[in-house]
Amino acid sequence: MDSITCLTCGHLNPPDNHKCEICGSPIETQDSPIDATKSGSQSPNPPEDLSSPHIPGEIHGVGGLLGKASLTPAQQAHTRLLKELIAGEGTTPTPPGQPKMRANNLLRIGVGSVIILLILISLLVELPFFSPPELSSETLAARQLIYSLPPGAPVLVAFDYQPAYIGEMSRASQGILAHLMAQQAYLTLISTQPTGPALAELLIAEIGRYTGSVYQAPEQYQNLGYLPGGASGLLIFSEKPHQMTPVTADGEPAWENSEVNQINHISDFSLVLVITDDPETGRTWIEQIGPKLGDKPLVFVSSAQAAPILQPYYASQPQQLQGLISGVAGGMAYQESALFFLNNNQAGVPWSTYSLALWAGAAIMILGVIVAFICRMNEEDSEPRSGGMKP
């Protein structure tokens, strides 16, 4: 008789064992549906009931999905785990006791109220507590690159972030976009996300209102709209931009303005600026576009969450990113250093409000630690334990 494989750890056990020698998990018996396939043998009958009438488009359990496929014990174990997870999703959890529900809801309402109240107060009352953020080396590098652009320089700007992140991303990118407009760069807007073209139009119009110099299409910028195809689309665009995007988002012919009609390759742009909230999207741009740029700079505006993943590209030698502005702090530092354009009251939530919300979040966490510590002390007083804190 063959040895039996433990479905938990994969160890081969003698046939008469009821528990695994290694992990101690119970081993399936001969009657078990899984047992029929042990030692690599093929399952004659899938474990699910396949007698129910088949409805097109429905998958009849794991058996229906896999048919008579031969599964290894590890695959059987994964299948079983997946089935349990799916079954758990379909069942309604037993409602917890009313007092606990009330406490959780009160906690949610309390935390939300504290944060909202503090934000409202700080918006109404000028808070002079917080200094503007400091300028990092990567933000400084981005600023120097923009300063070096001549008037009319063609710049490609990618708006690759989700509308949900507009609060952070618009705050992070307003400064550099306003700076580009002040340098009179010709902007070519593009996005690999369907919502990107609308975000681009809104932000360009908004900055125009704040700065007083409204950019006009197609004289000062063109919006190429949505670029499909992910990495493949980017690759083709980098080599043949005219072919990939012959018309603008409005359906008008693109590339007709004198600043861009000579652009036949991505390296013909003076600078490429990517605004993204997602490290994966940022990575795709760096990998597909970066090597084709030659000596032309690639600058990123990223969300605070994406910045740690993008930072190594800036820190590497040779640099794959020539400038990086990360999060609200980076955007604020850029604006403060460039000494222009947008003041706090015009361009969204002031820095002091943002800082106060961060402090409030930290205070709530500290309060949570204190409350948990007191609760634990009370528990230990009521029922003494042998061990201390778990490692």
Binding site: A198, E201, G229, G230, G361, K390
Partner: protein
């Protein structure tokens, strides 16, 4: 196991396409480069079409829910009406026209931003309750790091916090960047391994 002829056909197509595109970057042959560009362009067109297919599938699923009255069917009806209205506005006014942007600015942006704002509150509540469920050193280090990053991101003019700022900078520059580099290397190796598996026919995602 015997393979069906169609599976073999798919396998040959996939391997040949992958090899042509890969060799197109390594070998400087105009014909190969043209073929490579053609394949990559097809891939981009197919990916664009996938978005349309996804939209059609979404509409079909919600149409089924509306046509066979079920609980929650009203939401599906709302989705279909919203889709038709937005589609017509975008067709008539262009996707970046003033009406389209009005819908985007006053409907989509507030809804998505509000959901993300709720996430911030939910995460704070989760951290508050975390230590009640699991009171150990790892939880304390986790919360301590989060507090340090949050507080270290702000600048108080009257309070000089060089140690705090230095610690935050060190955390972001050393362990975080080290972890990020590890992730990037892992992704790179994973992509190469997946490519090799598809090129050798070990992995056949196109078979469904």
């Amino acid at each position: 196991m015997r393979r069906r002829p169609f599976s073999v056909f798919l396998l040959v197509i996939a391997i040949a396409s992958g090899l042509v595109v890969l060799l197109g970057y390594w070998i400087n042959l105009p014909a190969l480069a043209t073929l490579r560009d053609l394949f990559v362009r097809w891939a981009a067109i197919l990916a664009g079409m996938a978005v349309l297919v996804g939209i059609l599938n979404l509409l079909y699923v919600h149409w089924l829910k509306v046509s066979q009255p079920k609980p929650g069917g009203a939401y599906s009806l709302a989705l279909l009406i919203a889709f038709v209205l937005t589609f017509l506005v975008a067709i008539v006014d262009t996707p970046t026209g003033s009406w389209s942007l009005w819908i985007f600015r006053y409907v989509q942006l507030p809804v998505e931003a509000s959901l993300l704002a709720l996430l911030a509150i939910t995460l704070l509540v989760a951290v508050f309750r975390m230590l009640h469920r699991r009171f150990d050193w790892f939880s304390l280090v986790f919360i301590g790091t989060a507090i340090l990053i949050l507080v270290g991101s702000t600048y108080l003019p009257e309070v000089n916090m060089p140690v705090l700022q230095s610690l935050r900078t060190w955390l972001l520059q050393v362990p975080t960047v080290a972890g990020a580099r590890g992730i990037l290397l892992g992704i790179g190796i994973g992509v190469v391994a997946t490519g090799v598996r598809i090129l050798t026919g070990s992995d056949r995602p196109y078979e469904g």
